[in-house]
């Protein structure tokens, strides 16, 4: 089992490359390979998760047999297993969902899509699993390049929005790499465990401080933390639904995870809170981001744009957990990574389903959808309840933990921000629930599907009860169930994975 950490990214990269080659001949086979590879990586992640939680020890693997700190090391510990399972799980679901949606939204551009999806997941899983600061950068760029390819195939404005994202992403990656350079020159190593062992003597060093700040700044850009979020709305709005459904839930989260990793396992305890006020800065910026994202989301008419601004606010919950820097607060932040990934993934996939079925993307046009596609809309209600934080859905518990953490840290302003933002998100999401379940008035129900850009009657055959085909509906159903189950059983996750992960904070 000690090869397991290596197998996860390897199977994904392999699947990505193979899928590209095969995909040139047969798109269907290409898709199947990408899906198989991702599903295999998911299963491996689950195995790793079980292994790590039952033994309580991380699984380490030295790449190419080179002993760390010389060689690159993969470390599957509690937090890494948590992230890889999430990333590969979402990847698998989106790959199941993607073909029908892509064929409808961007016909003829799908050859690159499936390999890119597998490579994106490979990059993100690699970032989660690596024990090496420089290697993290490599995976970060793999993920970024795959993301650019996925996003650029969207609507007409897609390529331009992606170009902007590419420039900003390059700056973020550059900052991070520069930071790694500073650390390397002062510590003489890029292996995380090794750096962690040597850093305590160097905490006063200016170049270490510079390195830390640059790395966090780069990752914050990648994470889309307010006010560095400006690339996000255009990108998500113009991307194909399935690409947005893959990228929005997990991409920014992995960068957030990388910051947590630096804080917990690379830099000495309390370095981010006492030596330099990185955590507090992230916290305040996040608090502002939560309010900003929620308020701007209220005014949006485009479904995808609303989700994008909501993401600006939601990723900041994770930032708030980092800012609190106490165990329960950080647990709340980390739990929100999974919660938000499930909810936002679900919402984007529902958006894709609506678009597939009716061609609609503007919220005011969605009146009466509750009749047209009731099951999809029930899933939508579950997602909304979770976003607003109604128990027993997942969203409720991360908020409770964050609030407890805020009280313990005497962070009353942040406490108030969480309260306020719950209400704001209730406003923009329930407004939409009201729209979709309202009956159409004065309009002939023959709001012709093909006229608004939806599928034709012929394509609709074989769809679930006049909704979307099973390949699109099953991922939606699984995610809705997961949103509830993760809420009800959240404590199992907290006890098995997150409490061990935040243990360094308790160590003092």
């Amino acid at each position: 089992m000690s090869q397991l950490p290596a197998l996860i990214p390897t199977s994904l990269i392999l699947a990505g490359l193979l899928s590209l080659l095969v995909g040139l001949r047969s798109l269907r086979a290409g898709h199947l390979i990408a899906l198989t590879g991702t599903a295999a990586a998911f299963l491996l992640s689950v195995v790793g998760l079980v292994e790590v939680t039952s033994s309580g020890q991380p699984i380490r693997y030295a790449v190419g047999g080179w002993i760390p700190p010389i060689g690159i090391e993969f470390v599957l510990d509690h937090l890494a297993a948590y992230m890889t399972t999430l990333v590969t799980g979402i990847g698998t679901l989106v790959l199941i969902y993607a073909p029908r949606s892509i064929r409808h939204e961007s016909p003829g551009k799908s050859a690159l899509t499936y390999p890119s999806m597998a490579l994106l997941v490979a990059g993100l899983a690699g970032m989660s699993i690596t024990g090496d600061l420089f290697n993290l950068y490599v995976f970060l760029e793999i993920a970024a390049l795959a993301a650019y390819a996925l996003l650029a195939t969207g609507d007409r404005a897609g390529p331009f929005a992606t170009l902007r994202y590419l420039l900003i992403g390059a700056v973020g990656g550059g900052f991070y790499l520069l930071g790694v350079g500073f650390i390397y020159f002062s510590v003489g190593s890029v292996n995380m465990a090794d750096v962690a062992a040597r850093l305590p003597e160097l905490v006063e060093s200016r170049s270490v401080i510079t390195g830390a700040v640059l790395m966090v700044l780069g990752l914050a850009l990648k994470m889309g933390l307010f006010p560095l979020h400006f690339w996000m709305p255009d990108v998500y709005t113009n991307a194909p639904s399935s690409s947005a459904g893959l990228i929005a839930p997990i991409m920014t989260k992995v960068s957030a995870y990388a910051i947590v990793r630096l804080m917990l396992d690379v830099f000495p305890p309390a370095y981010f809170t006492e030596a330099i006020p990185i955590a507090a800065t992230i916290g305040w910026v996040s608090a502002a981001g939560i309010l900003f994202g929620s308020i701007i989301a209220i005014g949006q008419q485009d479904y995808r744009r609303m989700l994008a601004y909501s993401s600006v606010g939601q990723i900041a919950y994770v930032g708030l957990g980092i800012g609190l820097a106490n165990p329960i607060g950080l647990i709340g932040g980390l739990l929100h990574i999974v919660n938000h990934a499930l909810m936002k993934g679900l919402l984007f996939l529902i958006g894709g389903a609506i678009r597939w079925r009716t061609g609609l993307v503007r919220i005011p046009d969605m009146v009466g959808l509750g009749r047209k596609m009731p099951w999809t809309m029930y899933a939508f209600v579950i997602a909304v309840l979770a976003m607003v934080g109604i128990p027993p859905t997942a969203g409720f518990f991360s908020k409770v933990y964050l609030m407890i953490g805020a009280v313990q840290a005497d962070a009353w302003v942040w406490f108030a921000v969480i309260i306020l933002s719950s209400l704001l998100s209730a406003i923009y999401f329930f407004r939409m629930v009201e729209f979709v379940f309202r009956d159409v008035e004065n309009e002939s129900d023959a709001a012709d599907d093909s006229a608004t850009g939806g599928v034709t009657a012929r394509e609709l055959e074989g769809a679930v009860a006049g909704e979307v085909p099973p390949s699109m509906f099953i991922p939606i159903a699984i995610l809705s169930a997961a949103v509830i189950l993760v809420g009800v059983f959240n404590f199992l996750i907290v006890r098995a994975l997150l409490e061990p992960a935040v243990a360094p904070l308790l160590g003092g």
Binding site: M403, I404, V407, E434
Partner: protein
């Protein structure tokens, strides 16, 4: 048997949860079968709850911890006298409301009946869940579910007005919910526990600023549902929902969940001693007293029957809140018992209002001249409810008001006795004229006896008898009076010898 009864609270919650799922699956086309599910769930639920009464009075505390949902906090069900009192009344009235609602919804030819009965069942699950919650987190989870499950019922008619009101309802309910979450987070961060304790578990060492913040968060959270002014305005608006909802949810289950929250807050979180010491009791009492009087005055001005009853509800909910805030054992006893008597009387009145509407289409008080000749049974029941609310002996309302008044004197706060007396007069002023108008005036519309459907008249008669029985033999129905005494005993340590 005891092992089974430990499961009873969970089964009681699940009974209606199952109905909430099965009802829409069965659907409109097989509506008799659908109705069977509702009745079955209601009867099973009530039986399970009633079975626990003797044990709980003997000091048993049934229940179980289901699973840990946060560090050190389980999803915990515990049956104590307070929860059982509320649960028994809500589940008993649900049976009657179900039959009544079949008559009402069919009579009024309402749309979306499957959704209606499903959500009603879901609301009952949540209500019973919060009755039996052993800690604040479990309570808040059910409280939030209750808020959300009521929304589809409020917007039932689907009109523009209904959606507007639904929006207002959600804003109020979700604000209240998040305030509770904030309050529980604050308590947990400081104490590390959220379990309800008879007599409370907070203490003065935690600092007055902190305690006041916690109190205000919870008061906001419960005050909305309990309709304490200035948080009441959603309640009269919510009367746009079909009458069975107004009767069961907005006179009993939902609004009393807020009142029940105050019982938990004062008796089981703060404890009466600390609550009085910090001055929160006086603060709450003043708001409640003002609400009682102002709501009664507004009720007089309302011509719409349901609106008048809604303001009456606002006033009577604050009777209970005031009784709790007075803190004297007798007042607390009166408050707890008023939860039951008010439920019995007010549901009767709403049932009557709905029967009149479905049968004659009349909604306004001014249209009711002589209607007593057409619907004598309905209007007789209305009369019982009306004089009961005013506090006339032999109806339940007298008993609870008596103890509320005695409690106010005991506590050395005679001013509140005057509030109760004055409001009793106002109650009479806005309700009794309806009865006299119905029987003493005449109108060409109503000449011969022609009652509403039996599905409605029978539940009305039963709730009327229920209200009367509570006044004649308070402990005779489901031992409500003993349960109320047990609540006071567990919170204050004061036991009453002899009782009624």
């Amino acid at each position: 048997m005891d092992g089974f009864l430990d499961l009873a609270p969970l089964l009681a919650i699940l009974a209606s949860a199952v109905a909430a799922v099965v009802v829409p699956i069965t659907g409109e086309k097989r509506r008799n079968l659908r109705e069977t599910w509702t009745v079955l769930a209601a009867v099973v639920k009530f039986t399970l709850i009633a079975m626990m009464i003797p044990g709980v009075l003997a000091g048993e505390r049934y229940g179980m911890d289901l699973l840990e949902i946060a560090p050190g906090i389980s999803l915990s069900l515990r049956v104590d006298p307070a929860g059982l009192l509320f649960a028994t009344s809500a589940s008993f009235l649900w049976i009657l409301t179900s039959f009544y609602a079949f008559g009402y919804m069919r009579g009024a030819n309402e749309a979306k009946q499957s959704r209606f009965f499903s959500m009603l069942a879901a609301c009952l699950s949540a209500t019973i869940g919060l009755c039996f919650s052993g800690n604040i987190l479990t309570f808040v989870i059910f409280y939030e579910i209750l808020s959300v499950a009521t929304y589809p019922l409020v917007i039932h008619s689907g009109s523009k007005k209904a959606y507007e009101i639904g929006r207002q309802y959600l804003i109020y309910a979700l604000t209240a919910g998040i305030a509770l979450v904030a309050g529980l987070a604050a308590i947990y961060a400081v104490t590390g526990t959220l379990d309800f304790q008879p007599g409370g578990f907070l203490d003065a060492d935690m600092g007055m600023g902190f305690l006041w913040m916690v109190f205000l968060l919870f008061a906001l959270g419960f005050g909305v549902k309990a309709g304490v002014m200035p948080l009441q305005s959603w309640l009269p608006n919510a009367m746009i929902a079909p009458t069975p909802v107004s009767a069961l949810l907005h006179a009993v289950a939902v609004v009393k969940a807020g009142v029940f929250g105050f019982v938990r807050l004062v008796g089981y979180i703060f404890g009466p001693e600390l609550f009085g010491e910090m001055g929160a009791a006086t603060f709450l009492a003043i708001f409640a007293a003002i609400t009682i009087l102002v709501a009664s005055l507004i009720a007089i001005t309302k011509d719409d029957l349901k609106a008048r009853l809604a303001y009456s509800t606002v006033g009577h909910l604050s009777y209970i809140v005031l009784g709790i805030a007075i803190l004297a054992p007798q007042a607390m006893l009166g408050a707890a018992f008023h939860m039951i008597t008010h439920a019995a009387m007010k549901i009767t009145l709403f049932f009557c209002a709905g029967a009149i509407y479905v049968h004659t289409g009349k909604k306004k008080v001014s249209q009711l001249d002589g209607i007593g000749r057409q619907m004598p049974l309905t209007m007789a029941a209305f009369g019982v409810g009306a004089v009961g609310l005013a506090g006339v002996p032999l109806v339940g309302g007298f008993v609870s008001k008596w103890y509320l008044g005695v409690g106010a004197l005991d506590a050395g706060l005679p001013i509140y006795l005057w509030v109760f007396l004055l409001s009793g007069l106002l109650n009479a002023a806005y309700l009794v004229p309806i009865v006299t108008r119905a029987f003493l005036r005449s109108s060409p519309d109503h000449t011969r006896v022609d009652e509403a459907s039996l599905l409605m008249v029978i539940p009305i008669s039963i709730t009327m008898l229920f209200a009367l029985l509570l006044g004649i033999h308070p402990d005779g129905v489901f031992r409500f009076f003993s349960l109320a005494e047990a609540i006071v005993a567990s919170v204050t340590g004061v036991t009453f010898t002899g009782g009624m």
